[in-house]
Symmetry: C2
Subunit: 456 residues, 2 copies
C-alpha cells in the first residue's frame, strides 16, 4: 500500500535534467509492471506519467488548474470560450491544420472546461505521441485568438448553450447546482449565459490566457505506452521553442486553499416550466469536500442509495413501482465544497409521489443505517469498479491530474481499496444523518405552470 | 492478411467436445499474441472468442440475431420489452439477485435491442467471468416473465420512451429513418410506440421468447482475459443445466438473406414542431448494405464529408460560419439495406441556410470528388481509429458478433486496413454521385408551426 505526498516545495531532488535520468523520481511501481513517475521541470512545470506495458496507445492531458469558479464578474464564460479558441489557430498552425493533425492519425483530441480546471487531451497511437505533444503544447503556448475567429466561435458557443438548454435533465442539474451552492462561484454554469457570451470581449479572454497559461500552472499527465524521460524532453523542447521562459529554480503555483468554504444553499422547491413529457427531479444538499477523509464513506453511501441496479432507489422507484426508467444518486467534490443529490425522471402526474420517495430513502438511510450485506455488496462494487476503470489509460491520465491538482497525494490501487475496505456501517449512517439534516434543494424541470401544478 | 469465412454447414470438424481440445478451431492468431477462436457447439450454439494477453477483464455478449425488424403487427416493441423482462427474474433468481450479482463485483452489465439483433453483455474481472456466464445464461434460458413484473416494467418502458421523446435530436433521427426506409420494417422505432407498449400482451412477449431464444440462434462472443475451451465448457454446462436440448448434430440457423431489399423512401421535407431552442436538421437517403463491397469506400466518403474536425461539414458550417456546434455525417448498414445522412443543430432562423449548405456539400462531393490529400488524410484517420478501437475488449466482442451475424466472415486488422488502403478517389466520387442522385429525405425538428415557417 502506498500513499505518496506530492510536494510543491523543497523539491531540489525532483528537478529534472534531460541529461541526467537519475534525477527522475519514481513515485510508484504498480501491478502488472506499470510505473508512475513525477518530475517538476524547469519553470515549475509538473509532469506525471504512468507507463503501462502492453498498450499501443497513449493518452496525454495538459491541465491548467483554473476553471469557471475563478472568473470575475464581466468574465463569466471566458475560461470555456478560451478553451474553444485554442483550437482556432496558433502562430504556427491554422485551425484546419490543428484539426488535420489529429484526424490524419485517427486520434481523438478534445478539451474539457470544468469548475476548477481546464484540460486539453488526446489519445493516439504511441508512435503519434510526439505529434500530439507538439500540437497541444503549441495551442497552450501560442494561440493567436484572432478577432474574426473569435466572432465566429461566439456563434458556435451560443449553439452549444442552446443544445444544452434543450436537454431538460441538464437544465435540472444546472439549476440544482446553482441553488445548492448558493452564491458561491462553484454554483455558476461553466459556459456562462448566452448574454454573457454575447458581451464578452477579446481582451477578457486574452487576460485570462496571459494570466494562467504559464509554466508554473501547467500540469502534464499521461498514461499508456510511453517513456517518462522522453516525454519530459519533448515537452521541454516544445515549450522553449514556443518562447516560454523556463527558470530552473521556479516552483509550481500553490494549490487551492483546502479550507472548507461557507456555503449557504437556497433551500426549498424550484420549478422550471418546460414543455417536455417527463418531470426531471433532483433533491439534494451540500456535502463533503474533495479533501475530506470521508470520501470513501460517501462512495459507499452513494453505492447503497443509488449506485447500481441493486441500489435502493433503483429497486424502490423503478423495480417495485415502475415509476422511472432512470433514477440514481450522485455527488461532486471540489477543493473546498461539495454536493450530493438524487435524480429521477418520471411522468409529470407522478412527480409529487417520486419527490416523496426520494426524500424518504435518504431519511431511511439516516434513521436505520445499512445492513452488513449492503455494506459488503457496496465494497465489492467499488473495488471491482476501481480495478476495471484502471484498464483504461484515459482514467489513469485523469487520476494523475486530480491527484496533483486537488489532493496533492497519489494513492495506489491497494491503498484506495484498503480505504474502501475500512469503511464501517456506522460511518455510513453518521454521514447519512449529517446529509439528511441539511437543508434540501428540490429542483423540478417539467410541464408545470407553477409550483402548485406539481400537487405537492 | 486474413479473411476467414465462417461457415454454418459442413462443420463436423468444428464440433466441440470439452474432452478434446484439438477440436478447437483457431481462426486467427493476431498481433500482440491475441487469438481468435470459433466453435460450433452441440445445439448449433456458436462461440467466438478473442483472448487478449495482458488484460484483467473480460467482456462477454450473448447475441440473439433477432431485432425489431422481425416483429409482426401486434408485436411491435416486443423484442425490446422482452430484453427488459429478462432482468426481472428467472426460475433460479429474483430481479434483485440478478442485479446484485453484477453490482457485487463492480461489473457492468446491460443489454441492447437493435433492429437486427439483441445482445446481453457484461464486463467483469476475469475471476468473475464464470458468474457472468452463469447469470446471463440463466436469463437467456430461464426467464419467468411474471405477469405482475411485466405490468411494472410496462411503466418503466413508457418512461424510457418519454425520455427519448424529450430529446429533439433523437426525435429527428427516428423520423428521418422512418421516412428514408419507407415502409420497410427497418424504418420502425426499436422500442415501439407508447400505444403499442400499452397494448402488448404477455403472450406476444412469450411467443417471441420461445420462438427465438434457442440453441441454434444463440451466438456467444467474448474478448479479453479468457480461455476458449473453459468458456465453451462453462456455457455448455449452464445451458444443459437449464434444460436446453443440445443435439450434437444440430447446425445454426441460416443467416438473413443478403439480397438487397427494395426500399421506397418518402422523399422531401418533414417538419416536426417542438418548442426547443435549436433546429435539428437531417438530410439523407438510402445507401449500401452491410454486405456491399463498397463499405470502405463509404467509410472514406463519410470521413471526408463529416467524420472529424477537419471534415468538410465541420469546416464549412462550424469553423467558417459559426452556425452550429454539432455537425457530422453518419451511415447505417443492415443486412439488406442501409442509409446515409448529414446532421446539424442550429438556430431556428438559420435552418433554411443550413439545409442548403448540407445539401450543397453532398452535391460538391459528387461533382468535384475529393483531393489526393483528403483521400490520404481519411485513410490515416480510419486506420488509426481502427487500431485504437481494438484496444477495448468491448469493441472486439462486438466485432466478433457482427462478423458472425451479418457478413459471415472475419477480417483481421491487416485485412481491414488493406481494404481501406485500396480505396481510390474515383470510387469515392462514384459513390457520392450515386448517393447524390437518390431522392433526399429532409427532417427538421424545431420551433416551427409548419413547413412555411422554415422559410425555405
Amino acid at each position: 500500500m502506498v500513499m505518496i505526498p506530492l510536494p510543491l516545495h523543497s523539491v531540489e531532488d525532483q528537478q529534472f535534467s534531460p541529461l541526467d535520468p537519475a534525477d527522475l523520481t519514481l513515485v510508484h511501481r504498480g501491478e502488472g509492471g506499470s510505473e508512475v513517475r513525477r518530475s517538476i521541470l524547469p519553470g515549475g512545470v509538473r509532469v506525471l506519467t504512468e507507463a503501462m506495458p502492453g498498450q499501443r496507445s497513449t493518452t496525454v492531458g495538459f491541465w491548467i488548474p483554473v476553471g469557471s469558479r475563478d472568473e470575475e464578474a464581466g468574465h463569466y464564460g471566458s475560461t470555456h470560450f478560451l478553451e474553444h479558441l485554442l483550437f482556432k489557430g496558433t502562430t504556427k498552425r491554422s485551425a484546419l491544420e490543428i484539426a488535420q493533425s489529429f484526424d490524419a492519425v485517427g486520434g481523438e483530441s478534445n478539451a474539457a472546461t470544468a469548475k476548477e480546471s481546464t484540460c486539453y487531451y488526446a489519445r493516439v497511437l504511441d508512435t503519434d505521441l510526439p505529434m500530439a505533444m507538439e500540437v497541444i503544447a503549441d495551442m497552450v503556448t501560442s494561440a493567436v485568438i484572432d478577432p474574426h475567429e473569435l466572432e465566429q466561435e461566439r456563434g458556435v458557443i451560443i449553439e452549444e448553450l442552446a443544445m444544452d438548454a434543450d436537454d431538460a435533465t441538464d437544465v435540472a442539474h444546472e439549476h440544482f447546482v446553482a441553488r445548492v451552492m448558493g452564491n458561491h462561484p462553484l454554483g455558476r454554469p461553466i459556459g456562462g449565459s448566452p448574454e454573457e457570451i454575447m458581451a464578452i470581449s477579446r481582451e477578457a479572454v486574452m487576460e485570462h490566457y496571459r494570466a494562467h497559461y504559464r509554466p508554473s500552472e501547467l500540469i502534464v499527465t499521461a498514461a499508456g505506452s510511453l517513456d517518462h524521460e522522453e516525454l519530459c524532453s519533448m515537452l521541454m523542447t516544445a515549450l522553449s521553442d514556443a518562447g516560454w521562459e523556463l527558470d530552473p529554480l521556479a516552483v509550481p503555483e500553490p494549490r487551492r486553499n483546502p479550507e472548507p468554504a461557507k456555503i449557504t444553499s437556497i433551500p426549498g422547491l424550484e420549478v422550471i416550466n418546460r414543455p417536455v413529457e417527463q418531470a426531471n427531479i433532483i433533491i439534494g444538499c451540500t456535502s463533503i469536500t474533495g479533501h475530506d477523509d470521508r470520501r470513501q464513506v460517501l462512495a459507499v453511501l452513494n453505492a447503497v442509495l443509488g449506485g447500481g441496479m441493486s441500489s435502493r432507489l433503483f429497486q424502490e422507484i423503478r423495480e417495485k413501482r415502475g415509476l422511472a426508467y432512470s433514477t440514481y444518486s450522485f455527488s461532486a467534490a471540489y477543493t473546498d465544497a461539495g454536493y450530493f443529490g438524487m435524480y429521477a425522471g418520471c411522468a409529470p402526474g407522478k412527480a409529487a409521489e417520486v419527490i416523496g420517495l426520494l426524500g424518504a430513502e435518504l431519511d431511511r438511510l439516516a434513521q436505520q443505517g445499512i445492513s452488513a450485506e449492503e455494506l459488503s455488496q457496496a465494497k465489492g462494487q467499488l473495488a471491482g469498479g476501481t480495478v476495471l476503470a484502471l484498464e483504461d489509460p484515459g482514467s489513469r491520465m485523469s487520476r494523475l491530474g486530480r491527484a496533483e491538482m486537488i489532493t496533492g497525494e497519489f494513492q495506489d490501487i491497494d491503498e484506495a481499496l484498503s480505504r474502501v475496505h475500512a469503511v464501517t456501517a456506522e460511518q455510513v449512517q453518521a454521514l447519512a444523518q449529517e446529509l439528511a439534516a441539511r437543508e434540501r434543494v428540490i429542483t423540478v424541470v417539467g410541464p408545470f405552470e407553477n409550483e402548485a401544478a406539481l400537487g405537492l
